[in-house]
């Protein structure tokens, strides 16, 4: 199977999302604040989108490819919001 540009993008997204979850949850242990919490959720959504993408591309499920796309956008919005809220900003 030839890798589709989306596969490469979602592969990179998977690695970044896992990192976000790890960093977010580690920080969350010491700083129970909005920034790390949102970063963890953003990472979880990104990871879910990559897994759903793999399932769709491998024909394991018949779902529209829009689902991972929506999740990636939502995850990106949350990750950016997390940066703004990182220092307990309002």
């Amino acid at each position: 199977m030839e890798p589709f540009p989306g596969d490469i993008l979602l592969g990179a997204c998977f690695i970044i999302s896992i990192l976000l979850v790890v960093v977010g949850s580690l920080v969350l242990r010491y700083r129970r604040e909005a920034g790390p919490a949102l970063l963890t959720v953003a990472g979880a959504l990104g990871t879910a989108s990559s897994i759903i993408w793999v399932l769709i591309r491998s024909d394991a499920v018949e779902l529209t490819e829009v689902i991972p796309l929506v999740l990636i956008i939502a995850s990106s919005i949350l990750a950016i919001s997390a940066v703004f809220l990182w220092r307990g900003g309002k």
């Binding site: 909005a34 919490a37 949102l38 959504l45 879910a48 499920v61 939502a74």
Partner: protein, 306 residues
């Protein structure tokens, strides 16, 4: 009619209309793709709600609303309306109407941990017990679905959708204090509907296509009544009764939706699903009423000791 009775009747009508969403959507699934239904539902419903923005504009502290607040509203509309309801309508395509209605009613289960982390609200032991029970309820709904990869993924997608909506509900709280909740809700429903257009285009789904007259009627009911009129009734009802009392009626949604699915779609709920629906309804009640329940429990224990 007393003001409060009228308020409760309006909110009962809202809950009834919201309970019809899943069943009505299932009736037009054969005619339109899920994303087209979501788009039409929110854009047409949002148009009905735009006058609400004009009516309540004087209650907004416009001088305190900055460009950043508008950007936040735009981004949250994507997460809370575009994202949530695109996923919701796709999941509804694969799983039963009663399962989706129950999962979407479980928003407080998902928003409680978010409120603790993001808004630093407190949650007691009773709340934690409610959350655990709710988690068990979601698992029961998951088990009650037909065992196939699609339905497992669809229940997971539904849980992600509810998580997105919970984030929206929690992060909207500061904005609701600056702008009236009726204004922010109406705007975000309309904006969220419009933001579905690029997603529809990417999916290759049509914005509109000819459908039988009966499906047009269902679609108009879904947009104008289940979104537009339902929110109008909800806002009018909340002007007459206090929010916590009015929202107790929301616990009826999973049961009403299940009964409607049984009557209209002949969707017979399994024993597991009924247990799941009851568990989630009770746990949502426990989480929302946590403070009152804790106080009552302390009173009972205090009386017991005395």
């Amino acid at each position: 009619m007393k003001r409060e009775t009228a308020g409760m009747l309006l909110i009962t009508a809202t809950v009834f209309l919201w309970s019809t969403i899943e069943v009505t959507t299932k009736l037009i699934h054969a005619e339109l793709p899920p994303l087209t239904i979501a788009f039409l539902r929110f854009v047409l419903g949002g148009i009905i709600l735009l006058p609400v923005v004009i009516i309540y504009r004087k209650k907004v502290y416009w001088s305190r609303v900055s460009g950043r607040d508008w950007l936040v509203l735009l981004l949250l509309s994507f997460i809370g309306i575009t994202g949530t309801f695109s996923l919701y309508h796709i999941a509804l395509y694969w799983i039963d109407a009663s399962s989706v209605a129950t999962l979407v009613s479980a928003v407080p289960l998902f928003s409680a941990p978010m409120s603790v982390l993001i808004l630093k609200e407190r949650i007691g032991k009773i709340g934690v017990a409610g959350l655990l029970a709710g988690g068990a309820g979601v698992f029961l709904i998951y088990l009650s679905e037909e065992f196939s990869t699609e339905s497992i993924i669809a229940v997971s997608i539904m849980c992600i959708a509810v998580t997105c909506f919970s984030i929206y509900a929690v992060l909207m709280k500061p904005l609701n204090r600056k702008m009236d909740p009726r204004v922010t809700t109406s705007l975000s429903l309309f904006i969220g509907g419009l933001m579905m257009i690029p997603i529809l285009l990417m999916d290759g789904a049509p914005l509109l296509r000819p459908i039988p007259l009966l499906s047009v009627v269902y679609l108009l009911f879904l947009s104008f009544f289940a979104v537009g009129v339902a929110y109008l009734f909800y806002f009018m009802g909340l002007e007459r009764v206090n929010m916590s009392r009015g929202n107790t009626l929301m616990y009826l949604k999973p049961t009403l939706a299940t009964v409607m699915a049984l009557i209209v779609l002949s969707e017979v709920p399994s024993f597991l699903r009924i247990v799941g629906i009851v568990t989630i309804t009770i746990s949502v009640f426990v989480i929302i009423r946590e403070k009152k329940l804790s106080a009552a429990l302390r009173r009972i224990l205090g009386t017991g000791k005395g």
